[in-house]
């Protein structure tokens, strides 16, 4: 069972973060954050940018965790797959969430 968790955890975390950022975008627009200014940017921009980097940090932490002897699987096969998937999740995080940095808000 633990090995199954090792395999699915990284992509599951990606999915959770992806949904969270999409949700945050919805909440931000509904609450009108794009009209609130904080030090040069809108609150909306600030929140999304922060969320983006936090998300990447979490995914990187999962990767480090799965490589560390503490959580690494005893089976080389599972260890290898779980690490491939953790890298995939990190790449997926950057790839799918980068619009948070750049794109127009709420339109």
């Amino acid at each position: 069972m633990k090995d199954v968790v090792r395999i699915v955890i990284a992509m599951l975390v990606w999915l959770a973060l992806f949904s969270a950022l999409y949700g945050l975008e919805g909440v931000g627009c509904a609450a009108g954050w794009q009209h609130i200014q904080v030090t040069g940017a809108t609150l909306f921009q600030a929140a999304m940018t922060l969320a983006f980097f936090v998300a990447l940090l979490i995914l990187a932490a999962v990767l480090v965790g799965l490589r560390s002897p503490l959580f690494r699987s005893a089976s080389p096969f599972i260890a290898h797959i779980s690490i491939i998937l953790a890298v995939a999740a990190l790449v997926a995080g950057a790839w799918t969430l980068f619009p948070a940095l750049a794109l127009s808000h709420c339109a």
Binding site: M1, K2, D3, V4, I7, V8, M11, L12, W14, L15, F18, S19, L21, Y22, G23, E25, G26, V27, C29, A30, M48, S73, S75, F77, I78, H80, I81, I84, L85, A88, A92, W95, T96, L97, F98, P99, A100, L103, S104, H105, C106, A107
Partner: protein, 827 residues
């Protein structure tokens, strides 16, 4: 005991009853698998006939073949039948039939559950067929968007048939998915660690997990829409605080993963068949497994690409556009792994391979058009045109039907024990291949010229007449090809001569048995040390038949197999399966009666039917433990193992875990709906919030905690062999408190038809209440068995199962109470 005597003894133990009694009482996976495959094929033919009617209608402009009202039913039912009654059940059938044979075991984890799932599927399918024949079929398109599907715009019973029939069929899919997950993780040949599993098992495992995560959102959506239609709860009614977009989110949260649920098993077939046809092994096994897992998860982050034109902000669309392009990467890895495999080996051009080449040709096109529509601006033009219809058929037909036909011809000798004799299959392939491409290449073009999907007629001057006629003629060519395949298989089953065992020279275990396979699969359960055990040891089949491995000596009348440690494949326990039983069909009928009651709106039937469901379920659960606990037993090769139900984590515990995964997703979707309406629902806030009641909150939270603690105490007592009573009483008191608190909240949810908020609160609390009731029933049942003293033996595992469900109920009760009671403070 020699091989023949062993065969006779095992056959007697495992056989189902003769004649029609056998059909309704069999629980054997080979029987159920074949029945699944047969019924799914029948539905494919029904869906195909509907497709021909569509193409007849569209062949000419201003067609008067059928009126729009009928045409709408035809295309809606075509999509519904193909997606829910053909593709998913065909996968289930293939998995049910093949998995134990591939994994080297004698049956699936819960034989009676497979039968139950099958009968739910048949009964649900019959409801939809009845609707079709009676002219009452659903007619709002296979994704049933409200408000078109709401009672104001679809007053008839048509939509109810869809909501209720499809949900019933999905119950069967969930049952099959739980079965498949546990079987793959626990029911394998000794020594088969995860990295030695046949690749098809990996794909089936991933697919089953996806079903558990993907189907609950639609089940929830269907329940909500049916509540809206039947009782006027305004979940999707924007004037009353609901949102039509909520349905679209819930539907596509299911709908996109659905496409990959259909594709992944087909990819599993290719990964199995293609290397054999290339006389080599799969290139990059680890990468293919990782790609399948990545694909599964990525596909849950794509659903909004079906909603690019609904006015969601561009940043939101961009997330999903990016994810939709990324999903092409794991797909690409698999495609190139297969091509690399062909380069690595010496490919033959057999009939299965021909279909795989057909797959490459069509699926790559479908994938490329898929990337195109993932690009937002292009989708704004292509969305809801014939371009999409063409794309989706390239993916579904190319990515599912072609590989499944390859699989059919590959495993046909295993299924029948015969040799293919007539050469109709090759000709049929060319008709299907050319017909398919002709029909759907044309539709891309029509779509780009502006032809919308789902139109019943078009004017002459639109300029699509020739394209549509060509498409229709091609699709009839394809239909002739499909008919020839059916004819070919029928001839094969009736006339062909006996073939040799393992005609393709494959290396996996399903070929290490006599064909057609015996009901028990393996006379003794082999030890596996290689991904292709049969290739390494060609004498394996004989050794198995001679009983050289585990459980080679049949004992009494028991159907026995082994479970293993999920990761390493080390044998863990002995399993004794239940025998033939009509309990599954009876339970499916009772479940069906509840659904039918909802459909014809005779609501008193539902509690009555549910009473039967509970009664039959309890009987089902108890009959499992009729055997006493003999402790460790000899399973052959000087190995002593305990019985599975005596271990801490029995198969029932594992099944509960996976069922609760699906349940958690359902609850999560409900929570999502609540938050969604709150943040983006038009016309908020509601006229009235649920006010905070400290009494309800305290009672509910303390009760939930007490129930969980009670079972914790009981579990500790069970492992010490002490009395369970103290723990059970605490738990029961806790459950009663929780139920009381939830019931009080439920009555305060307000006027449910006035506003979506109150209706949503009601559904959340009702969900928690149902789970609290389930937990209470389980605790009572455990207490009753303790009272009778019968529970003395498999006690630990039973307590653990009840504990799992109680903990979940406590979690749900606490979460939904907190989420609703504080409503008025959250804004």
């Amino acid at each position: 005991m020699n091989a023949l005597a062993r065969h006779r003894a095992l056959s007697r133990i495992w056989s189902s009853q003769p004649g029609w009694r056998g059909v309704i009482s069999t629980v054997n996976h080979s029987d159920i698998g074949r029945m699944f495959l047969l019924v799914a094929t029948l539905f494919f033919l029904i869906g195909g006939v509907l497709a021909m009617l569509i193409r007849t209608q569209l062949a000419t402009p201003h067609s008067a073949f059928v009126a729009p009202a009928i045409y709408d039913q035809i295309f809606t039912m075509h999509g519904t039948v193909m997606m829910f009654l053909f593709a998913i059940p065909l996968f289930e059938g293939a998995a049910v039939y093949l998995l134990p044979k591939l994994l080297g075991t004698r049956d699936l984890a819960y034989p009676r559950l497979s039968a139950y799932g099958f009968w739910c599927y048949v009964f649900g399918g019959l409801m939809l067929v009845f609707a079709l024949l009676a002219g009452l079929a659903p007619d709002s398109g296979w994704f049933m968007y409200p408000p078109l599907s709401s009672s104001a715009h679809s007053p008839g019973v048509n939509t109810d048939f869809w909501l209720i029939g499809v949900t019933f069929v999905e119950v069967s899919a969930i049952a099959a998915a739980v079965e498949i997950c546990v079987s793959i993780l626990k029911f394998r040949a000794p020594g088969m660690s995860l990295d030695l599993m046949p690749i098809f098992a990996w794909y089936a495992l991933v697919t089953a997990l996806m079903i558990l995560m993907g189907f609950p959102p639609l089940i929830l959506g269907s329940i909500l829409l049916e509540l809206e239609r039947a009782f006027g709860f305004p979940f999707f009614e924007s004037a009353l605080g609901g949102s039509p977009l909520l349905w679209q989110h819930l539907f596509w949260l299911f709908g996109h993963p659905e496409v990959y649920i259909i594709f992944l098993p087909a990819a599993g077939v290719i990964s199995t068949v293609l290397p054999v046809m290339a006389r080599t092994t799969l290139l990059g096994y680890r990468w293919v497994v990782a790609a399948a897992v990545a694909l599964a998860f990525l596909s849950f982050g794509l659903w909004v690409h079906h909603m690019f034109a609904t006015g969601i902000p561009h940043m939101g669309l961009a997330f999903f556009s990016a994810a939709s392009t990324l999903v092409a990467v794991p797909t690409g890895i698999q495609i190139f792994a297969w091509l690399g495999t062909l380069w690595k080996g010496r490919p033959r051009l057999t009939l299965p391979m021909l279909y795989i080449i057909g797959f490459f040709f069509t699926f790559v096109i479908g994938g490329l058009t898929g990337v195109m529509v993932a690009i937002v601006p292009f989708d704004w033009q292509a969305h809801d045109t014939a371009f999409i219809t063409a794309h989706l058929h390239y993916v579904l037909f190319g990515g599912f039907v072609f590989p499944m036909l390859a699989g059919l011809y590959y495993w046909l000798p295993q299924l029948t024990g015969r040799k293919r004799f007539f050469r109709i299959g090759e000709m049929a392939f060319w008709l299907i291949f050319l017909g398919f491409n002709g029909a759907f290449v044309a539709m891309h073009w029509a779509g780009l010229l502006g032809q919308r999907r789902r139109i019943a007629w078009y004017p002459e001057d639109a300029g699509w007449t020739a394209i549509n006629l060509f498409s229709s003629i091609s699709s009839f060519v394809m239909a002739i090809g499909v008919a020839m395949v059916v004819f070919d298989i029928a001839l094969h089953a009736l006339l062909a001569i006996r073939g040799s065992r393992n005609p393709w020279g494959a290396g996996t275990l399903e070929w290490a048995m006599p064909t057609p396979p015996a009901a028990y699969n393996f006379a003794s359960i082999p030890i596996v040390g290689d991904r292709e055990p049969l290739a390494r040891d060609p004498a394996l089949a004989n050794k198995i038949a001679r009983g050289e491995y585990f459980l080679g000596e049949p004992r009494g009348e028991l159907r026995e197999t082994l479970t293993v440690d999920a990761a390493s494949g080390i044998p863990e326990a002995l399993v004794i399966f239940p025998g033939n039983s009509t309990l599954p069909i009876a339970l499916a009928a009772a479940t069906g009666a509840a659904f039918l009651g909802a459909l014809i709106r005779v609501y008193w039937v539902i509690p009555l039917a549910l009473l039967f469901v509970v009664g039959l379920s309890l009987r089902w659960g108890w009959s499992q433990h009729a055997a006493n606990c003999p402790g460790f037993q000899n399973v052959g090769r000087a190995t002593l193992l305990p019985q599975a139900i005596e271990t801490d984590r029995s198969p029932g515990w594992w099944g509960s875990v996976f069922l609760l995964v699906a349940d958690t997703v359902l609850f999560g979707s409900l929570f999502f709906g609540y938050a969604f309406l709150w943040t983006v629902g038009p016309n908020w806030p509601p006229p009235q919030w649920l006010s905070l009641s400290v009494l309800e909150l305290a009672l509910g939270l303390i009760g939930a905690a007490a129930a969980a603690i009670g079972l914790h105490v009981a579990a500790r007592a069970a492992s010490r062999g002490a009395s369970l009573w103290r723990g059970l009483l605490i738990a029961l008191a806790g459950a009663a408190m929780t139920i009381a608190a939830l019931a009080m909240t439920l009555t305060r949810a307000g006027q449910l038809t006035d506003y979506a908020y109150g209706a949503t609160v009601f559904v959340m609390i009702a969900y928690a209440l149902i789970h609290a009731a389930i937990a209470a029933i389980m605790i009572c049942s455990l207490a009753y068995r303790t009272l009778r003293g019968g529970a003395s033996c498999p006690r630990k595992s039973n307590v653990n199962i009840v504990r799992l469900w109680t903990d979940y109920a406590a979690f749900v009760a606490a979460t939904s109470l907190v989420a609703t009671q504080f409503s008025s403070y959250l804004t």
